[in-house]
Every structure is written in C-alpha cells, then in structure tokens.
Subunit: 232 residues, 2 copies
C-alpha cells in the first residue's frame, strides 16, 4: 500500500490513485476558479500537477468529470446542511427557504462552474442531464430530501397535492438556481431577495388548498401535475 493512515480509530488504506486524483481535483478547481473553466487547458492542469497529460486522463475521463466531482461534493454538503435546517424548525416556509439557501451556498463563488454544469444539464443526452445519467441519482436524492422536509413539517394541505410537492419543490429550487445563474447583480442579491419574496407566497397558496372551495382550481391542476410528474 502506498499510504496508510489512521482515521477514527480505523486503519484506512488510501490507494496512490485516490491521493493523486484528489490532488488533481484540487489543483484543477483552483485553476478553474481563478482563470475560468474554458480558459484552463488540460495541459495547464497537467503541468501544474507536474504530471503528463495522459496521466491526467488516467484519473479523470474528461475535463468535465472534474466539475462533476465538484457537483457531487457540493451535493453532499448540501445534504448535510439540510439536516441542520430540519433540526432547527418544523415550519415549512423556513425549511424551504433554508434548503434553497443552503443549496445556493454550496455554489457560492463557483458561479462559472455552475454555468458549465448547466449547459450540459440542458442536454438530455448528456450524463449531466437530471433525468438520465449520473445526475439522475442526485435529482432523486434531492427529491427525497424535499419529501423528508415536507413529511416532518407543519405543512397541512390538500392530500392529493401533497404527494406532488416533493417534485414541485425540486423544480422550484431548480428554477431558482437558474435564476441565480443568470443573476448578474452583486453576489446574486436579486436572487436572494426574490426567493425571500416568492417562497412565502407559494407556501400560502399551498396552505389555501385545505379550504374545500379551492377544489375549482385544484381539480384540473391535479391532472396537470400528473402529466408533469407522473401518476401517484
């Protein structure tokens, strides 16, 4: 073994490959953040790591794979942040705000990276599409987080609608991320303000659905949701 070290009382072996790929990842991200993704050359990265170009490709199948790893890691810290949001309050509005805020925070300072990710995500054939490929898994996990957020919350609403909420909230968050990507204001303040403004209104509308009268609107809406998300 190349490298052994002790972590939490358990011997953990780390292969040389893991060490190198982490190093490559860190060097790469540093370059991407400083010079931009497109402006950073694979040759730059290999040189900075004092490795050959081919060796880089041994560790990452392509340039995008590096930022896919970033996306994966950002998801992990997002998930972790959600736990503490849920521990803090049962109020659905606060939770939803907290979750979206947590998500944006994981992207903070990496807006250009997210743009690169988005442009692949929009391609249904790409492995970064939220519906196929590697991102599918993250989407499903995110929907599960939304489900968890709702189930243990104070939200009361029409039963049928409730089953669609996890996917709807996922879409809402994706929309806000898109808004954020396009938001050129200082530190994307516009996005933050917008979310603060819109989220309570959405929650309020959802709560209204308990009133029987709302059936007029809700009836046809359910069919629409089924077409959008799939049958329940």
């Amino acid at each position: 073994m190349w490298y052994k070290h002790y972590m939490n009382e358990t011997k953990t072996t780390v292969s040389k490959s893991q060490v190198t790929s982490r190093r490559l990842y860190e060097i790469s991200m540093a370059h991407f953040l400083e010079k931009g993704f497109d402006q950073t050359t694979m040759r730059d990265l290999a040189a900075a790591a004092e490795l050959s170009l081919g060796a880089f490709y041994y560790h990452f199948p392509n340039k995008e794979a590096v930022i896919q790893r970033f996306y994966q890691q950002s998801f992990d810290s997002f998930k972790y942040a959600c736990d503490s949001v849920f521990a803090e309050t049962e109020n659905i509005e606060k939770r939803l705000l907290g979750v979206i805020e947590a998500r944006l925070k994981t992207f903070e300072g990496s807006r250009e990276i997210l743009i690169v990710l988005s442009r692949s995500a929009v391609d249904p054939r790409s492995p970064l599409s939220p519906f196929g490929g590697d991102q599918k898994e993250i989407r499903e996990k995110t929907v599960s987080i939304m489900r968890e957020m709702i189930e243990s919350s104070d939200l009361k609403c029409e039963k049928g609608l409730r089953t669609y909420l996890p996917e709807l909230f996922w879409m809402y968050m994706m929309g806000m991320i898109l808004f954020w990507v396009f938001d050129e204001s200082n530190n994307q303040k516009k996005t933050r303000d917008f979310i603060q403004q819109l989220t309570p209104q959405i929650v309020r509308l959802i709560r209204y659905t308990r009133i029987p009268l709302s059936g007029t609107v809700l009836g046809p809406l359910k069919k629409t949701l089924e077409m959008l998300i799939g049958p329940r």
Copy 2:
C-alpha cells in the same frame, strides 16, 4: 456584380458571398439534421460544399453561427405564423395555444439543433443568452408579439397584472420549449398534451384576477413580479 435577378419588379443584386453563404447554410443544416451537430465536422461541410475549410470560416465565424442563422429564420417564420393566429381569433386562450404551437412547429424535426442552441442559451456569457447578445433582440421581439397578442385580445384582467403578462407569457413559452427539449415521447406528444391541459388553467387564473377578492393573493404577487421582470 456576380449575380442579378429580378424579384417583385425590382432589380435585386445578390453578392457572391450571399449566394455562397446560403449554399453553405443549406448544406450544413442538411448534414446536421442527418448526422447530428457534434458528429458533423467542419471539414465534412467544407468538403460537401467543395470549398476549403478556411473559405467556410470566411462566411461563418464559427460552427454555431450556422445554427444561429437557423434560429433567426425560425423566428421569422414563427412571427409570420403568429399573424395568422391573431387574424383567426381574439380569444386569448386560443391565441396563446396557437402561438406556442406555432413556435414548436418551427423547431419540428430539429430537436437536436435546439438542444445545441439551449446549451449555449443557458450561458449568460454566450451571444445566445436571451438576455445579452444576439438573442436579446429575438427575446424582445417575442415579448412584443405577446404584447400584441394580449392587447388585441378578449382578455380582461386586473390592470396591474396585465402589464406583466407579455413577459410572463414569454417565460411560459420558454418553459414549454424546455419541456419539449427534454420530452422523449413520440413526436413530443407529452409536451403538446401538457400545453393543452395547462394553458386554459393559466388563462382562467388570470381572468379570476378581476374579482376584487383576489387582491389578497395579487397584492404580494405584484411585488414579486416587479422583482422578476422589473418595474412598470
């Protein structure tokens, strides 16, 4: 002059460059549609046109410029189609359905091209971003079409909301296009059905805003719209 020809009683001179670039455009699109954008090489195109690679670049600054031209032309035929939709009915629901249907029709058979366009459109730095660059103009023209659609229609709704509708309908249409891009069903039937289902509900909600009672929801919504679209 390389080429003169008569059109509508007026002498129109067509430069050699115009003739060549149209030819290149047509050859290119044929290849893109048959083999796919990424699978078609600039060398393929130059060879098919019996021109050198460099000559191709004299007529188009880059590969994407070819499909930008397609996008421009698709917009022109969309705009034309809208006129006949408006001539046909004043009913806002029918108009909105007709306009969106017309838009999708201009993309029919070119889904892959639209995917390529979308992945650039999602990048705020790209000339294809709807907010900057060349597409900005098309976005503004499309919003104007929506405005025209509303103004001469039978739609009655709360006055303040009305001023935001052109942009809102534009966003709605963009959303449906995105849905269409991801829709893998036969001939994107799911998208068509979804639009048929959702559009009348949206129109109905908008019409409800004439009822004074609706102020409870509409009040905060207006501020949200202002943040989304800008002040009126």
